[in-house]
Amino acid sequence: MNTRALAGLLVLLAFLMAAPMLLGGYGLSVLILVLYFAYVGQAWNIMMGFAGQLSLGHALYAGIGGYVAAGLYTHYGIGPWMGVFAAVGAAVAAGAIVGYLGFRFSLAGVYFALLTIAFGEFTRIGFDNWSWAGGSGGMFLKVERGVSDLANLRGGTVMFYYVILAMAVGAFVLCRALLESRLGRYWLAIREDAEAAQAVGVPVLWCKMLAVTISAALTALAGVWNAFYYNNLFPETAFAVGRSIEMTLSPIIGGLGTLFGPFVGAVVLTGLGELFTDLSDQFHVAGLKQIFYGLALLIIVMYRPAGIWPWIATRLGFEERRK
């Protein structure tokens, strides 16, 4: 990383640290969305961007993480900082099952993606009928106004903002370290050509299993955060295919396999989403948002197929090629 890039990064970080003082409630809630999508995008990017494995079922891990932590809290009073271990453990187990079935039996590309969708779907149906988790009626966390209890993740927007900011920064640092390690390079090799990778000694199955479990663990954390931020969970939304697709958009738009791509993609997508919501409201046309949003995605994917970030990075003289 050159000094210009480092300076840019520090300015960005300073802005993010000070944001609750600088922005109003609306601005902060938008920024929370940006950081959330940057974070889950970063987690998903480990599988697709680094190891080249297309998962379209990441809502599974977020949903499981959220349900486990929220369930332990509502049923047994176990706080989220403890519950998160169980949440991550459950999501890692789910990731290991999906990964082993897919990778051991060499399901590749779209077939693996179909498997990930299938797991999300039947988990959704399972939760619909599971009374402990509230069934299709959902699970609700007790809302306490005016408290700020970090130990139990009960509090206002500012607290959740700093938690998701810490998670996004942590995921970025982790991904950078992974990419600059043997495991990271092995992932890239698998993404490019698994057979050639195995011939130079890469234990392909093991590396793919690590990709899916690390990605699932990080995604589960997002699920926990999400459950405690919104205070409710429904199988129909937590495990929805749409939720999974949403997680893939930031890294795809921002730049697959890059470290800043998920963040840049999240900024652009959330920004466009808010803009088009405003437009829809102004012109009183329902669905205008979706049409413009879809068109914007289409244009970005057509003109910057490698993502927005690699293009910006070269213009600014930063060096982050798709590795």
Binding site: R182, R185, A189, D193, A196, V200, G201, K323
Partner: protein
């Protein structure tokens, strides 16, 4: 780096009743250069794939310095000391030339820094050093062939399997590759088994040659003996186009 003795005994492979390789036996002493030749479809690459762990043999054994490697996974075979190239080159296209070779070097050097240094040294030897920051997908075919060799060498093998690395090279480029391999063999004592159609390279490099046809071994000997062998001439070398 030093060579290992490779021995194939009674090696066979059947694909759903189709006999691709049958009862092939030969040995390559440590440090020797051995060529495997034969017409297209004779089963040469299948034999390679059985040594490299892509296929488990349906019959026979493969041993490296007396240790059985048949049926191991490709990455385990690499651990055991076998490096291979692919006939249809398989570069990591989206990675730079240096990163391609670094992945190989990481096999015995788990840290990125030392692995990269090792990769640079190998690239320098193969004349690819000035292209190390290019993406592999932008290399010409001869350079991609050299990259295959560099990446396999980076894993520090005791046995190097080269699958038609001369194909598509110009005669002068063949001579460069031959000189490189001969130097490598002399310097490191690495054992080399090569599949090759370029006879100029086989004659210049190999101490011994094994000939296969329709999945079976039909001859073995020095290049000069093979060039005179009637069975070989019949199936492989002797077919001159009358027109």
């Amino acid at each position: 780096m030093s060579g290992a003795r490779l021995e194939l005994a009674g090696l066979g492979k059947t694909f759903r009743g189709l006999r691709a390789v049958h009862d092939v036996s030969f040995a390559v002493p440590a440090g020797a250069i051995h060529a495997l030749i034969g017409p297209n479809g004779a089963g040469k690459t299948t034999i390679f794939n059985m040594i490299a762990g892509v296929y488990a043999p349906t019959a026979g054994t493969v041993t490296l310095d007396g240790r059985s490697i048949a049926g191991l996974r490709p990455d385990r075979v690499c651990d055991a000391g076998v490096g291979r190239t692919f006939q249809i080159v398989k570069p990591f296209k989206g990675l730079s030339v240096l990163e391609n070779v670094t992945v190989g070097a990481l096999h015995r050097r788990p840290r990125l820094g030392p692995a990269r240094e090792h990769a640079e040294a190998i690239l320098a030897r193969l004349g690819l050093h000035d292209r190390r920051h290019q993406l592999a997908e932008n290399l010409t075919l001869p350079d991609r062939k050299r990259l295959e060799v560099a990446r396999a060498l980076a894993t520090e093998p005791k046995l190097l399997l080269l699958d038609e690395v001369m194909a598509g090279l110009r005669p002068t480029e063949v001579d460069v590759m031959v000189a490189f391999l001969r130097g490598l063999s002399a310097e490191t004592g690495l054992t080399i088994l090569l599949i090759e159609h370029v006879m100029r390279a086989v004659m210049a490099l190999a101490a011994r040659v094994t000939v296969v046809s329709y999945g079976e071994k039909i001859a073995e000997g020095t290049p000069a003996e093979i060039a005179r062998n009637q069975a070989v001439l019949d199936v492989y070398l002797g077919h001159e186009d009358p027109a």
